[in-house]
């Protein structure tokens, strides 16, 4: 591919040669997430860049708001070193940054909003196994280097290159732990239907990252019911809440089905689209209660809701396919629900570039 290449001066600083001194300095500058970082020496950054040696280190990936800092492959690699990535992860980090820079993600306002959302990365395709991403037990939790450091590299880049400095220019009122790192993969083998990236028009053999600005995951327990309709009832009640933005501003919220729920639903002959249609119909609340609470309505609040009808039922998505449904996690009767800020920030999927 043809890159825009912008020769930029490589800015360096000389610090006392100790891990502690470098970490103290980086922390004081506001360049960390509070956890220790790996010092980004030239050698380490050059090694990181081998992860995408088909592109110039000066390749321009984009300008990151609010500070409109220039993200080149090298500045991203620098942050990836700090986060603890290995070179094989770099293409995922870069694809994620390209994704959040797409207009419909709305990065400028996601970087500075009072809402708690963080970019949730969902990885699909062969790269999952190649780099050892977790998609099973504890998928949202600690323990897997790829998940932990890819999400962290994105966060460090958003702060350091974009200037979204917590409590200074990033006005999130509370944030959530996913602002440290928020990267999962799909459990494709446990998914009875097409994986997320194939549903979104990519080839099965492509590796794809999907980004969605999401709140923290919320557990939906259904240990008792195995009938899909009953499972949907439990989900729907967890998803349509008066404190959740999606009731007022819809968008692309996420359901992460546990493998057992996925099996029960598929065994009854349901397609993935049936889940999306059921939750579109069932995860609703009456207009009479929603109208004067929560938040402003829009930008794509359903026009077909009769605002003179107190009993008109308001959905949390504009149409069934807007609900992101995927499979991940371990054995047990839980699935997860990740609400989002609403339709002002939509999901974006990007192919993860692989070398020749």
């Amino acid at each position: 591919m043809l890159d825009t290449v912008q020769k930029t001066k490589i800015n360096t600083t000389d610090l006392p040669n100790s891990l502690e001194a470098v970490n103290d300095y980086f922390y004081e500058q506001g360049w960390t997430d509070g956890l220790p970082i790996i010092p980004p020496t030239k050698e380490r950054v050059d090694r990181m860049l081998t992860g995408m040696n088909w592109r110039s280190p000066d390749a321009v990936i984009g300008l990151i708001p609010p500070g409109m800092g220039l993200a080149t492959l090298r500045t991203i690699a620098t942050n990836a070193v700090m986060a603890g990535c290995i070179p094989a992860y770099l293409p995922v980090v870069v694809a994620a940054i390209e994704a959040v820079l797409e207009k419909k993600y709305g990065l400028a306002h996601r970087q500075t909003t009072t809402h708690a959302g963080a970019p949730l990365l969902i990885v699909n395709g062969p790269i999952i196994k190649e780099i050892g991403l977790n998609y099973g037990n504890g998928v949202f939790g600690p323990g897997w280097r790829a998940n932990a450091t890819i999400g962290r590299a994105l966060r460090l880049t958003l702060v350091n290159v974009g200037g979204a400095i917590p409590a200074e220019t990033d006005f999130c009122q509370h944030g959530h732990p996913g602002k440290y790192t928020y990267c999962i993969a799909e459990h494709q083998a446990a998914n009875p239907w097409e994986p997320l990236h194939v549903e979104r028009g990519f080839k099965a053999e492509e590796s794809v990252v999907t980004v969605i600005n999401a709140e923290a995951p919320h557990s939906m327990t259904e240990n008792v019911q195995t009938d899909p309709i009953e499972i949907m009832r439990t989900f729907a009640d967890s998803m349509a809440t008066y404190g959740g933005n999606n009731l007022y501003s819809q968008g692309n919220p996420v359901v992460v089905l546990g493998p057992e729920h996925a099996q029960h639903i598929a065994a009854a002959g349901w397609r993935k689209l049936d889940i999306q249609m059921a939750l579109f119909e069932m995860a609703r609340r009456p207009w009479g209660i929603a109208k004067n609470r929560g938040k402003s309505k829009g930008p794509f609040f359903p026009v077909w809701i009769d605002k003179n009808d107190e009993n008109a039922m308001v959905p949390i998505i504009n149409e069934p396919k807007d609900l992101v449904v995927m499979v991940a996690g371990g054995a047990g009767g839980k699935s997860m629900w990740c609400p989002t800020a609403g339709a002002q920030s939509l999901s974006v999927s990007k192919v993860i570039e692989r070398g020749a």
Binding site: L15, P16, N17, S18, W31, P66, M68, T78, G163, I165
Partner: protein, 198 residues
């Protein structure tokens, strides 16, 4: 073995041409003043009170209001404004969407040769500053107003415009180089409820 370790700086400096602070007049007397109302709630109350104070205390007679209506986008009439005024005030930014755009309007007016200040409420001054720097203006003067701007008693909202007048006048009539130096070095206080990191 060396005692030093060379590390790369992880930030991405904006790659924009530096915009200098526009030369300022010595006084506002007899000059045309443009007030750019961003359309954010209460901005009109603050700017009306500022206009009144400029008339009463600073001998300004020629004030024109420009209203862009929607706060989260740039003003579409910067060129016309620049042709019709000698100095300008852009505001009031008092949320995450209005503040960046009031700053960008101010930067565009400065680029068009109009000495300008932006009015931003306390919580959003650091954001306004980083946005200004992001588009290349390191020395754009931002007058910090108390936050929140909105209150039940409208006279208290107006008071914020009255109180800002002296600083607005100072920043529109101080030598550009001095203003530039002051604002390039300016460190705004953290927003309310922010805990200092170091």
């Amino acid at each position: 073995m060396t005692d030093n370790l060379t590390v790369l700086i992880p930030t991405g400096a904006p790659e924009t041409e530096a915009i200098p602070t526009t030369p300022r007049p010595k006084s506002l007397k007899g000059l045309r003043v443009a007030l750019l109302d961003n359309g954010k709630e209460f901005s009109d109350v603050v700017l009306d009170a500022l206009a009144e104070t400029l008339r009463r205390d600073y001998g300004v007679t020629n004030i024109k209001f420009w209203r862009k209506g929607f706060p989260a986008k740039g003003a579409p009439f910067i060129e016309e404004m620049a042709a019709e005024t000698d100095v300008a005030v852009s505001g009031v930014g008092h949320c995450g969407s209005s503040s960046p755009w009031s700053v960008i309007d101010a930067v565009n007016l400065e680029k068009a040769g109009v000495p300008t200040v932006a009015l931003i409420s306390r919580s959003f001054c650091p954001l306004g500053q980083i946005v200004g720097r992001g588009v290349g203006h390191t020395g754009l003067p931002i007058v910090m107003l108390p936050h929140p701007i909105g209150e039940a008693d409208e006279s208290r909202i107006a008071q914020k415009g009255i109180d800002a007048a002296a600083e607005v006048v100072r920043l529109l009539t101080t030598q550009a180089e001095t203003v530039n130096k002051e604002y390039a070095a300016k460190k705004f206080p953290l927003p309310e409820h922010a805990v200092a990191r170091v």
